[in-house]
């Protein structure tokens, strides 16, 4: 119990640190939303009018920083995230995020879990059959794929499967805009075919890490005495592989899963940018380009919360899987 409480404390502290960073970075750096708007409206609207408009959306640069900061923290927790002051001027941030989030969750979320499960399985088998054909080819290949830049793999896939085959797979946007959204076979098919290339990109670049760490953990675990003991007891090899070796080897990988979410988010930004996929990564890119504080702050908080929630879930899973962690807590 104490363990969980300590983790909760860490959760809150990190969230606070992220929110604080997020509040002060934009305010201490050059670049000002009013300037950005003046540039974007090409001076057709006067600076004063623009500033007034932004103020009505909750942008108050002249207010005391401490007051702003306290207000900001409160708003972040109550879900009162304000209105966009960038490209999508005046839209509530919650609405923008609500529109983009399902696409990212569907694409990046499913692909990440798939990569983790598949990678862990392949790594388990490869570490178990030490010296087998699988084990000889896999490590070098996946050392290479895990070091490839996300966006480059995306560009390559576009070139081969979209440009090279005359538009065989779509490489733009999340569905064919000529189809009316709904639960029709045409729409679902369009959504799926638009997800193939971005999902493949993410899978190719992330799966290698899981395979390698799982394989290496397996090899270290297989040398443990309890595995030898299980063999001596005459247990079936399947049972030893999953119940004894993999169960222990997966523990460091689980912690890695939560940490890697940060990397997945970075991949999502680049991949969504390459494929013009309207998820939250693309939204963040646009928010940054247009100096859209409210949107940026809300998105950055979401990213941090996502990693923290994953970390907490992993902690709980570890306690459940590993009796030693239970005894310690």
């Amino acid at each position: 119990m104490r363990f969980i409480l300590r983790r909760l404390g860490f959760f809150l502290l990190t969230l606070w640190a992220a929110l604080t960073l997020n509040f002060f970075i934009p305010r201490f750096m050059p670049g000002d939303p009013v300037d950005a708007l003046v540039v974007r409206t090409r001076g057709r609207v006067s600076r004063d009018a623009l500033e007034q408009m932004l103020t009505s959306f909750g942008f108050k640069p002249d207010q005391n920083v401490v007051v702003q900061y306290v207000d900001y923290l409160g708003h972040m927790f109550t879900g009162n995230w304000g209105r966009s002051i960038g490209q999508t001027l005046g839209e509530p941030v919650t609405k923008l995020i609500g529109g983009a989030l399902p696409w990212t969750l569907g694409l990046v979320g499913i692909t990440t879990v798939l990569a983790f499960v598949l990678g862990t399985l392949i790594g388990t088998v490869s570490g178990w059959r030490r010296g087998g054909a699988l084990d000889a080819i896999l490590p070098p290949i996946f050392v290479i794929t895990s070091a490839l830049p996300y966006f480059w793999v995306g560009l390559l896939l576009i070139l081969v499967f979209s440009q090279g085959t005359g538009g065989w797979l779509p490489a733009n946007f999340n569905y064919d805009t000529t189809i009316v959204p709904g639960f029709s076979p045409g729409f679902v098919g369009s959504v799926l075919s638009h997800a193939v290339l971005p999902a493949a990109t993410l899978l190719i670049t992330t799966i290698g890490g899981w395979i390698l760490t799982m394989r290496n953990n397996m090899i270290t675990t297989l040398a443990e005495d309890y595995v030898r003991m299980a063999r001596a007891k005459g247990l079936g090899s399947r049972r030893i592989m999953y119940g004894y070796a993999a169960r222990n080897a997966i523990l460091p990988n689980l912690a890695g899963f939560a940490m890697s979410l940060g990397f997945v988010i970075s991949g999502a930004i680049l991949i969504e940018y390459v494929f013009n996929y309207p998820g939250i990564g693309y939204l963040l890119y646009n928010a940054v380009q247009n100096v859209d504080y409210p949107l940026m702050q809300a998105l950055f908080m979401l990213f941090t919360v996502a990693v923290l929630v994953a970390l907490l879930a992993v902690d709980i899973a570890t306690v459940w899987l590993d009796p030693r962690a239970r005894a310690k807590g």
């Binding site: 990190t14 070098p140 050392v143 290479i144 070091a147 970075s266 950055f300 990693v307």
Partner: protein, 307 residues
């Protein structure tokens, strides 16, 4: 007194090949992955140092040629939509990309050594605070932060990109180094140094750090890989200096001019391949380091052949 202190520990404790540079080199040479990575790094280093040897074009970023030429003997990889020679741009772009990787990787490693080792060595409250700081930085998603920082710090000059990468790239290494330094803390050779009455700074620099060399090198490689990929991603998104000569900037202009869709795919594929190769080189050497440090991970085949 001091010289004997430096040379005394290895025979009794022998923390391995890490202390002798020659042993390390032999281990790298014996490992095919490490060799491949080292060769790629060497080639890029030579190109970065002497770009003039590899191309006759002096000002690679000037539009001196007809746009969208196909690859030929005059233009090995063709020309861009803006009329630049792609091959010579690649050659001249090597330097900045390599410098970012090495400098950001090295500075991040120095930072993680300072924070990780002092956390472990100081212990108590200082350790709690430093490891909390490390964990917080580790958890906060780096790339969105990098984008935001780079955007606000103005069109990312080289210094801005380096600072941002170092600021976000040190925490992973600090965590690992702290763990290893903690496990070293009660070893006999450190105890004997303490009994000899050596200063703390001397113990950390001359006794603890040399024992940790292999992990520090591994961390440098990891940080360099992170820097290569993040810097390329940043520049690709247009958050670098659009006038700089680097692979990331080439990728930005290629994307900007829709290179894939307008028949100049090499413009964006070639610099991407270079980024990938540089990343792969760091990753291969890093993985080989794992194998060297932990013989159980080495490929089984080779061992059979050697026996």
């Amino acid at each position: 007194m001091t010289t004997t202190a430096v040379t005394a520990p290895p025979p009794e404790k022998a923390p391995g090949r890490t202390r002798a540079g020659g042993g390390l080199w032999r281990a790298v040479r014996g490992n095919r992955k490490a060799m491949a990575g080292a060769v790629i790094l060497l080639v890029f280093t030579v190109v970065a140092a002497f770009p003039g040897l590899f191309t006759s074009v002096d000002h690679a970023d000037e539009a001196n040629f007809a746009p969208r030429l196909a690859p030929s003997t005059a233009h090995l990889l063709g020309t861009t939509a803006l009329g630049q020679d792609i091959y010579s741009q690649l050659v001249y772009g090597t330097r900045e990309s390599l410098v970012i990787a090495v400098v950001a990787g090295a500075l991040a490693t120095v930072l993680s050594v300072i924070i990780g080792v002092s956390a472990a060595y100081l212990g108590g409250l200082a350790d709690d605070l430093l490891s909390l700081l490390t964990n917080v930085v580790l958890v906060i998603p780096a790339f969105p932060l990098v984008i935001i920082l780079a955007k606000y710090a103005g069109k990312g000059s080289l210094t801005v990109i380096l600072a941002v990468l170092v600021f976000t790239g040190w925490s992973y290494g600090a965590n690992q180094l702290r763990a290893q330094a903690l496990s070293l803390r009660n070893r006999d050779f450190l105890e004997s140094a303490r009994v000899r009455g050596e200063r703390r700074s001397y113990i950390i620099v001359c006794e603890v750090l040399p024992t940790m060399t292999s992990l520090i090198v591994a961390n440098f490689l990891g940080a360099a890989l992170y820097s290569v990929l993040s810097a390329a991603g940043l520049q690709f998104l247009g958050l670098g200096d659009p006038n700089s000569q680097s692979w990331g900037t080439m990728l930005y202009w290629a994307q900007n001019q829709q290179a894939l869709q307008t028949g100049t795919p090499l413009w964006s594929i070639a610099p991407g391949l270079c980024v990938a190769l540089l990343g792969v080189a760091f990753a291969l050497v890093n993985y080989a380091f794992d194998e060297i440090g932990n013989p159980a991970l080495r490929p089984v085949r080779r061992r059979r052949k050697g026996a």
